[in-house]
Amino acid sequence: MKEFKKIYYSVLSIAGIILFWQVLSGFDLINSNLIPPPTKVYLAIIEWAKSGELFIDFSTSIWRGITGLLIGSIIGIMLGLFTGRNQTLDKILTPVLNVFKAFPPVALLPVFITFFGIGDFSKVFSISFATIFPLWVNTHLGASTVPAEFIRSAMLLSKSGVKIFFKIIIPASMNSIIAGFRISIAISFIMLYVSELAGASSGLGYQISSSHLAYRMDKMLGALIVLGLTASMIDLIFNKIVKYFFPWVQLNKII
């Protein structure tokens, strides 16, 4: 019932926005050349799907985005766990990571292209680079603030550091790791769009840009909506996975 109510309110709010947008267009309250009505955007999406390009653009972007996100997440989580639990590694790695964290990934794109070309590798690399840092920061925070009594209690049962790491440290850091991961999902899609501007022949970001340059605002908005829905869908799937594997994590308290 709770789930049904949630879906009901979500559908209602989205339908309300679409209706409001249609009304604004219908009464010429917005420039329909710059912001076409929802009906036109819908037809543009259908046209895009019928040409077969939607599937190619969608699958290309999903592959790039998820691969980059997973690689960046693994690296970010590992770094966060190391620096959060080991003072020596923290002293060595944190200053360096803080410097890299400050580099705007968008500005580094030409550098990535110089070294890695314009193929999928540079795009996945740039997405990974952008997603490492939110996860590193959040994981570090979670790992470094595990209550001492958890560890002391665990040590009464086992002296194995590895066991304590996997059974106590990681589960206790989960709230922070998941918060970092959800931020990284959003960042990965932003970076996906940016990387597809700098040399691409397919992808959702490419489609947004090329439609905009051809003054096809209907198709551009359609591609934007598909990109947004894709990111939301990934976030939703992620929440389901977290609920299943980590039922103690309080998702409603994380963003």
Binding site: L197, A198, G199, H212, A214, Y215
Partner: protein, 336 residues
């Protein structure tokens, strides 16, 4: 009593004098109403008329104050013109973005062309042995970068058609012009199809390791785009701008070397590249019916390549051209 009367009289004299001064200043102001025109340009040699006119003070009149805003591409200036913020009064762009934006339902007017450029767009490729013709070079799969939504993309389409290249061997990648020379030189891409100065920079980066393919049949125009409301509200200012551009045209004809120095300094381009490419440009303020024919051809291209659905009706491009301002200041420059 007499004192009160005297003070009262003085009071009236002072008030009258103040009103008189106010009226005089208002009259003086209305005699010299200066209208501001903000013009968006791509900082490149194709905008030499505007750059020279600004540099030499040909825009400095009592009727108009011209402010120039720079963009990395003319199509971006056109987007700023069409935006709701009203940042620009005029945008200078190639005719391709004008065609696409008109197909998209946007209402703009073209009041003049300021340059026609032959061979401005070229395909610059990384040498591959003896594969030194377009047909041979593109007989195997290659990555070609171009700038979408503008004349390079139109040029690329014509290049592929003219040399009957296999579309499967030409993977077209959208890229920002400023990233192209480096991407070409480090092998990220095999070829670039772009206008100057980036084509020239790509040639310079590659040196002997590069080959250039031309398609001299393709001409691009750079046009002055305005909104209809600007014609109504700032018609006189637009005429003054035209006069300034006509003076710049005369200056460029008679002072090519000085012009190139000014343009090289403004665009930060190597003077050698400029010397090499200068003959590609014909700087002239004019309107010719060939512009309409070009827009129609580009509209057909946009539909053929799927940018617009097959059912799209090609607009009447004659309605996009507004010759009256140019006719007033230079009637012989209008040819249709």
């Amino acid at each position: 009593m007499k004192k009160i009367k005297f003070l009262s009289t003085i009071k009236y004299v002072i008030v009258f004098a103040m009103i008189a001064m106010l009226c005089i200043s208002c009259v003086n102001k209305s005699k010299t109403v200066t209208q501001k025109l903000t013009i968006g340009i791509q900082n490149s040699p194709s905008n030499s008329l505007v750059i020279i006119a600004a540099n030499k003070g040909f825009f400095d009149t009592t009727k108009v104050k011209v402010v120039i805003k720079e963009f990395s591409a003319g199509k971006l200036a056109l987007q700023a013109l069409l935006g709701q913020a009203g940042d620009l009064d005029i945008a200078v762009s190639a005719e391709t973005p004008v065609t696409l934006s008109t197909l998209g339902g946007n209402k703009i007017k073209v009041i003049a062309t300021i340059v026609n450029a032959k061979n401005e767009c070229r395909v610059v490729v990384r040498k591959d042995g003896v594969l030194n013709t377009p047909e041979k070079y593109f007989s195997k799969p290659r990555k070609l970068a171009t700038s979408q939504g503008g004349s390079p993309e139109w040029f690329t389409y014509n290049f592929i058609k003219r040399f009957k290249l296999d579309n499967n061997n030409v993977e077209i990648n959208a890229m920002l012009p400023e990233n192209m020379p480096i991407a070409l030189s480090n092998g990220a891409i095999d070829a670039i199809s772009i206008f100057d100065p980036y084509a020239g920079l790509g040639e310079k980066e590659l040196g002997e390791n590069g080959v250039t393919f031309n398609n001299e049949n393709i001409i691009s125009y750079y046009v002055l785009n305005v909104k209809e409301s600007t014609i109504t509200q700032k018609g006189e200012a637009l005429e003054e701008l035209m006069n300034g551009l006509l003076k710049a045209e005369e200056f460029i004809k008679n002072n090519a070397e000085e012009t190139k120095k000014i343009i090289a300094e403004k665009t930060k381009l190597d003077i050698d590249i400029l010397n090499k490419t200068w003959s590609h440009y014909t700087f002239a303020v004019m309107l010719d019916k060939s512009l309409i024919d070009l827009c129609i051809a580009e509209a057909n291209w946009a539909i053929e390549t799927g940018k617009y659905p097959k059912e799209t009706v090609i607009p009447n491009f004659k309605e996009v051209i507004y010759p009256d301002i140019l006719k007033k200041v230079a009637p012989t420059a209008v040819n249709f």
